[in-house]
Symmetry: C2
Subunit: 256 residues, 2 copies
């Protein structure tokens, strides 16, 4: 990545998105209303929740019967056993838990709280207790959106789906990339010399996570309805890598 | 934080910084050359290395006699015993190690590789084996720079010092805030309702880390010499909190 000025613009007036909606068409409309024409190497960062809603990834807790394991874990973490059942159904394994906290490895490999199952910023039809799961396949969703937007505008853009994760050791959540297409989500700097000709020790930069964090600054956390951010001014030479490249395997990890 | 467009601009042509240099004066010169006049609520993100160099935080490995403990650990992590001695002198405790990896809690509370002791992008005078430590007190350095820049330009800016950290579970480094002044490094959203009136579950956002990550996209990792990024377009109502607020206490941490 090389740039002098990079601009992040939150796309205003996005309508509420519902199951089955054509997200690419919604984005194209929103660009048009905002007078924005995507250019080559623009990166579109999309909040996970919007993609999940378009995919209809809702589960109604009223339909869930918790397993004995979910009931036991729910008591330990002080959460609704039905919610814990949904979390476990989205998880490969439980990584850590204590009252109020349930960290799992999501089936897609993300180590995160509650497998990303979310109860906030969701429309609740009368009587429903809906929760929202992560998108089915965020990298594939990015690739599909990129293909549709590229075709519409005749450009080559990058697409990132972001979410907010807590971290070990540090307070507060930060934006993190769940999916990416069309850009090097992980940028390999092996062998690049530093200013003084010494070989670099830092070898890989999580570019998509940095973009996800930056876009999160504009999206806000309190539901202002700014889930789409266009990033302009980045450039890169490296080939695209999707967000799966950001996942460290359990075998190579020191903290599981 | 609330914003529609946020612009990140890397300040060009910063001279190499050396021990004892007046960093505020250097920044003021660089702004002038670039035709940039800081405004209220601009945030200046400064790479750790520049601050460390101005503070003269060099150690020459030739002057270091490693302790038996450093020699033992150096063998286990496959690093120079003198470098490990310096790392240990900057650390409260060793968190994890394996060949090639040494994660410690820095004396300031950061859990990070090698206590931030760095061998890349450092000028090496003939015969020296210098390494560079983190700034003495990054929050204080931010406050001092903010005071000088605010006074010069008659504005109220934010200042962040960033570095690149690896993370558990995910590949690649991301920009992280070591210090902050003049902005809410950690933004508390307790009680803010979501779009549909439901109380938020996410309560704190690590705003300074998101800024640090975003600025890192422009700074690059390969020593392009763009260690200063000006962020324009953010706004906030919350009172300032420095980067120490981002540190989770060991007692509240599930991963130590």
């Amino acid at each position: 990545m090389d740039a002098k000025t990079v601009t992040f613009t939150a796309i205003p007036d996005l309508p509420l998105v519902g199951p089955g909606d054509d997200l690419a068409a919604i984005l194209i409309d929103a660009f048009e209303r905002a007078g924005i024409v995507p250019q080559d190497r623009d990166v579109l960062v999309i909040a996970q929740k919007v993609v999940s809603k378009a995919e209809g990834r809702y589960v109604d807790l009223a339909d869930i019967v918790p397993s004995p394991r979910a009931r036991e874990l729910a008591a330990a973490v002080d959460k609704d056993p039905r919610l814990v059942e949904v979390i476990l159904s989205e998880a490969r394994e439980v990584v850590r838990f204590r009252p109020g906290v349930l960290v799992v490895e999501h089936r897609l490999g993300f180590v995160m709280a509650n497998a990303g199952v979310d109860q906030s910023n969701i429309e609740h039809p009368q009587g429903s207790e809906r929760v929202l799961l992560l998108p089915e396949d965020p990298d594939a969703a990015c690739a599909a959106l990129k293909a549709q937007l590229d075709a519409c505008f005749g450009v080559e853009i990058g697409v990132v789906i972001n979410d907010s994760f807590g971290r070990p050791w540090r307070n507060g959540v930060v934006g993190v990339a769940l999916g990416a297409a069309g850009l090097p989500a992980l940028l390999d700097l092996v062998g690049a010399p530093d200013l003084f000709g010494r070989a670099m020790r830092v070898t890989e930069v999580a570019v998509a996570d940095e973009l996800a964090a930056a876009a999160s600054l504009l999206m806000g956390q309190a539901g202002e309805g700014l889930p789409i951010v266009l990033v302009r001014g980045l450039s890169w030479d490296a080939p695209p890598r999707n967000a799966a490249a950001l996942l460290r395997s359990k075998e190579r990890d020191l903290f599981r």
